[in-house]
Amino acid sequence: MIRTLTYAEALNEAQVQCLEADENVYVIGLGAPDPKGIFGTTIGLREKFGSDRVFDMPISENAVTGMAIGSAITGMRPVLSHQRIDFAIAAMEQIVNQAAKWYFMFAGQSSVPIVIRMIIGRGWGQGPQHSQSLQAMFAHVPGLKVVMPATAHDAKGLLIASIEDNNPVIFIEHRWLYGLNSLVPQEKYSEPLGRCKVIREGTDITIVSLSYMTIESLRAADMLEDSGVSTEIVDIRTVSPLDWDTIFESVSKTGRLLVADTGTMSFGVSGEIIAKCVENLYGKLKSSPNRISLPDLPSPTSSSLAKTYFPRAVDIAELALSSFGRNLDKKWWKLEEGVRLDIPNTNFTGPF
């Protein structure tokens, strides 16, 4: 059966099905059993599976990560959420030194099947310490898988695959995706880790994007279509290990590349993608590759600054057209006027 679910509901269902399927799976996280249930993603789990399998944690991100690792190497499959990625970096030591390296440093004798969920986002004045998007830090560490689904469908399939994977997976969710719907099969299914997905086919330019930027890229592609530019969108889904073949194939075809990332630009995800494409497709590009991401600044809080800090579909479309030496029709910019740019939709009223 296939229904429409929100991204949050899809994540919830993925956890329910994994908890049902494997008694070694457990869910731990800041507020996992509380009334808000991590943006709804863990609501009802404690009621269904009990407090031995679904529980809260002290504000001890580093030790709780270590404890999850220890449980994983002894047979459990923890699904851990630290809520915001900004909090999770308190656990960097365990993630980088232990989770990422355990399998290698003991030559494969034990592995760490752990999923660490982290939330990124934008808007509603979350500000410098509550809206970072640090996927590049984790992707840079050999031994971590980094997953960033953009749709409810992939959120479910990739979370199930992550829980079933024998390796540490950093599972990054964008706050603005929780409310978005897509068709989600009811049965337990997994989407393969390490595989990009061409979510829109096109011939003139390839947009390689991830997480929430995929949503904005889809809107941008409509604008580009209106301008006569046919856009192919490759949704990254797994930042590391990255499925280069799918990207190379698309870029080889279109000859043009634009990377859209949720993080700050320098030394981030976008640079690696451009570098790798250039190294591998040298001479096949028709124009200089482009990228769109956050400026190299912390996130400012004021809603008036959200507009320029966080890129939107129009920014992507404008940049894409620039590689054809063209500008985006002003009408698209006009459409954005007056739209509150620090909220995902008008239902959103804060305070989180």
Binding site: P58, I59, S60, N62, P298, P300, T301, S303, L305, G350
Partner: protein, 329 residues
């Protein structure tokens, strides 16, 4: 210290007034939040005012203060500028952080309110560092770190306590124990056998416990810690029991959502730090209903002016926004 009775009464009056001022500001924020113009998370301190006020009364302007996500009261009690705070919450140019920070990033260097930031536990070591400066530069100043009961679960809290003890630094750790970390109660986070006072003493730090809804008790505990710190007696830890009335983040009551009971809330509401002190002051004939009305309307006017100011301030435009990440030499 206060021999003169009139000075003493004025001091008491001020304690009350400060609490009322903070309460008025916070209640007004709660009222106005639904306008959707304060577009950032707010963590109100309604119910916990006695701590900020009692602690601040024991401090001098030169003393450093650091806080976390729930900082409005700490900022105001230390003398932080109300207009700048409101403009900050409204995301405006005139805000104390020019809109870069919002409610969770308050600062007023003119009164040595050094900064509040919302990563739990994270400003505790920073406060210890300011105490280090105070000691090395012989500033005769102390440094205060405010944090909640949840923050005592962070590793950095323990590391900070140990470092402060090792270096014998003039820092006062103020733990506002309101029973909850967001919606999580102690059972989820700490052992029933935990004894934070003993724990901190084990680190080698003076450690006290008090009623966080009793402003004079807070003041007295803090004052003796401050005096000890100024005299080179090193750090102190003070745990103060209190209760947050509204939801963890945002303007509403949330006793209905399931993590705590209405009964528990009512019990603590009955221990309102303002009401309790008002009763005492009334019995001393300092306070009266009329005075309350006068004070309240003064503070409300002040607050309304601050909101007015905030609303009238321009938004930081890209051009005027503070966007430097590096300080020039």
């Amino acid at each position: 210290m206060m021999i003169d009775q009139s000075v003493r009464l004025e001091f008491k009056q001020n304690l009350y007034n400060e609490m009322l001022r903070i309460r008025t500001v916070e209640e007004r924020i709660a009222e106005l939040y639904s306008e959707q113009e304060m577009r950032c998370p707010v963590h109100l301190c309604i119910g916990q005012e006695a701590i900020a006020v009692g602690v601040s009364a024991a401090l001098q302007n030169r003393d450093y203060v650091f806080s976390g996500h729930r900082a409005h009261g700490h900022y105001l009690a230390k003398g932080g500028n109300l207009k700048a705070m409101m403009a900050e919450i409204y995301g405006k140019e005139g805000g104390c952080s020019q809109g870069n920070g919002g409610s969770m990033h308050l600062i007023d260097l003119s009164v040595n309110f050094m900064g509040s930031t919302p990563i739990v536990g994270s400003t505790i070591p920073v406060a210890v560092g300011a105490a280090f400066t105070a000691k090395i530069k012989k500033q005769h100043a102390v440094s205060v770190a405010y944090f909640g009961d949840g923050a005592t679960e962070t590793g950095v809290f323990h590391e900070s306590i140990n470092f402060a003890a090792t270096q014998n630094l003039p820092v006062i750790f103020i733990c506002e124990d309101n029973f909850y970390s967001v919606y999580s109660s102690f059972e989820e986070r700490q052992s029933a056998n935990r004894d934070i006072i003993k724990l901190v003493q084990g680190h080698g730090v003076n450690s006290f416990e008090g009623d966080g809804n009793n402003v004079e008790e807070v003041f007295n505990l803090t004052l003796s810690a401050v005096n000890r710190a100024r005299e080179g007696g090193g750090p102190s830890f003070i745990k103060l029991l209190t209760y947050r009335w509204r939801e963890h983040c945002g303007p509403n009551y949330d006793n209905d959502i399931g993590y705590r009971t209405e009964a528990e809330f009512l019990q603590w509401q009955a221990k309102c730090p303002l009401k309790a002190y008002e009763t005492i002051l009334m019995s001393m004939n300092i306070m009266s209903d009329a005075l309350y009305q006068k004070l309240f309307s003064e503070y409300l006017t002040e607050m309304n002016n601050a909101v007015q100011y905030a609303k009238s301030q321009p938004f930081p435009s890209i051009k005027n926004a503070f966007t430097d990440i590096f300080s020039a030499q």
